[in-house]
């Protein structure tokens, strides 16, 4: 009986915690969305921020929302895009190992510039772009994504998108560092805008407090 009450409390607190965590992630996403809109970017697709989950009763391991992404486009450069993916955790052991190898801990964001699309980015499936943002910079499946160069803060490489090889530049931010609007501007929005405008090394050149990648790879 005592154990049951304990479990009951744990479940209640877990649900409350998840609700709060999702609310906070939602706030961060809203701030980024509003700021990017203010910079003249348009988000791809509708308001959906997560994907690749299951509603099937037989797949409880896929019920939980763990990743959240948005892609931003601008008319001036229709074959480029910037975007981010928030990663909360509870990935497969293999994926967690890939992330750990770079010196990154959950929860984190990867923020990426994507270039060299053959067609206008808006013609691709939004979920394909979300998958791309999810894996850039850290995923180790070489048939899908490469890491051609890793500096202390940036990862450069290419990723397969519908049989095309798309060039990416990615950096990583600790989600728990995003405690106010100014930090979000400085670490997420401004670098995305600068990278899109050709300043790929903005985070390095300005010595931003983003995640320093493990020196094993440098």
């Amino acid at each position: 009986m005592g154990n049951q009450r304990n479990i009951r409390e744990i479940i209640a607190k877990t649900m409350e915690n998840m609700y709060q965590i999702y609310r906070d992630v939602g706030h961060i996403a809203q701030i980024i969305e509003e700021k990017m809109r203010g910079e003249g970017f348009k988000a791809m697709g509708d308001a959906a921020i997560t994907w690749a989950v299951s509603a099937a009763y037989s797949k409880p391991e896929d019920w939980l929302y763990r990743w959240f992404a948005r892609v931003f486009l601008k008319e001036e450069k229709p074959k480029s895009a910037v975007g981010y993916c928030i990663h909360l955790g509870k990935y497969t052991p293999e994926q967690e190992d890939m992330i750990k190898q770079l010196g990154i801990s959950f929860p984190f964001l990867n923020i990426s510039l994507l270039e060299n699309f053959e067609k206008e980015v808006k013609t691709y499936w939004r979920t394909t772009l979300y998958d791309t943002l999810w894996g850039t910079g850290w995923h180790g499946y070489k048939d899908w994504v490469t890491k051609d160069k890793i500096t202390d803060k940036l990862v450069y490489g290419s990723i397969k998108v519908q049989n095309e090889s798309i060039k990416y530049t990615t950096y990583f931010v600790d989600l728990l560092a995003l405690t106010n609007e100014d930090v979000i501007t400085r670490l997420v929005v401004e670098p995305m805008v600068k990278m899109f405008n050709g300043n790929e090394e903005w985070v390095s050149k300005n010595n931003l407090d983003v995640i320093k990648l493990s020196s094993n790879h440098i």
Binding site: K35, G38, T179
Partner: protein
């Protein structure tokens, strides 16, 4: 304090729900100007407002404040616009500031004019110019600068006002530059527009978020000057903002400590019944259903 909303007929069931929600919220928040003896919280809220250049609207003290809810104004062409609030502030120096407020909760700007039947035939308004109502922010900014307000008391109190501002209140986390920029552009394109109109708009259209008030009310020190009744009012305001999901951004601060969860299933003991071998009901060669079964 949805008294204002009820008194002005804003909670009638014939109004759409989102409009009623917005009007009630406006009524709650701006009633603070009417009912609080000490204006430090309302003025702190106004001081969070910024224009497109990032300048804050600074107002430290006020000797008098008048609040008018849902004031109507017209440019004399038989059509009127209704703002959400008009706040008339007399500073200690004697200078007067008029702040017209457009408040949004979940809806966007109403960029079409509404026609009031009671004014369409009014003899009171003369045709002044050919301003056509279009962009709501532009209409309201021009309204506070040049229009005629329906209520005689407002017209009287607007005499001698030194500064006329528009305050746009929304649920955004950051200033909605696009909407304000569109309003300023609309002002620029108006036939009556002069260069000083655009300059005034750029300087005097301010934005503040409902969330800024939650930020202010989350600081326990702000309650010090108030009586118990006023504190209760402010507590309730804060709670309303939280219920409306208009709280200030303060992430990862409300999480509970947890122990590890372990499954409440003991061993998964299923008693399986033995079964006989299954024989297909289909004929194995032709695939035709065997109707013997």
């Amino acid at each position: 304090m949805m008294l204002a909303a009820e008194l002005c007929g804003k909670i009638s069931p014939i109004k759409p729900a989102h409009q009623r929600m917005e009007d009630v919220l406006t009524s709650y928040i701006f009633s603070a100007f009417r009912y609080l003896n000490d204006q430090s919280v309302p003025l702190a809220f106004l001081s969070k407002a910024k224009n497109l250049s990032g300048q804050n609207f600074i107002l430290k003290q006020a000797s008098d404040i008048y609040v008018f809810f849902w004031p109507c104004f017209s440019f004399g062409n038989g059509r009127f616009r209704e703002a959400d609030v008009l706040v008339l502030i007399s500073k200690s120096s004697g200078e007067k500031v008029a702040v017209i407020v457009e408040a949004k909760y979940e809806s966007g700007l109403s960029n079409l004019a509404s026609v009031g039947m009671d004014l369409a035939h009014s003899q009171e308004f003369q045709v002044l110019n050919s301003v056509q109502f279009r962009h709501q922010l532009a209409d309201e900014f021009c309204g506070i600068q040049c229009a005629t307000f329906l209520a005689p008391e407002i017209r009287q109190k607007l005499k001698g006002v030194h500064q006329r501002l528009l305050l746009y209140v929304t649920a955004n986390h950051v200033i909605p530059k696009l909407e304000i920029g569109e309003g300023i552009e609309e002002i620029r394109k108006r036939p009556c527009s002069k260069p000083e109109c655009v300059k005034k708009a750029e300087e005097n259209i301010y934005w503040v978020s409902w969330r800024h008030l939650h930020q202010i009310l989350s600081d326990s020190r702000v309650y010090a000057p108030y009586s118990m009744g006023e504190r209760n009012f402010l507590f309730d305001l804060r709670r309303v903002l939280e219920l409306r999901e208009l709280d200030w951004f303060s992430p990862f601060t409300n999480l509970s400590q947890l122990e590890s969860y372990s499954s409440f299933f003991s061993s998964y003991n299923l008693k399986l019944q033995p079964v006989e071998t299954y024989e297909t009901i289909f004929c194995p060669v032709s695939g035709v259903l065997d109707y013997r079964l």
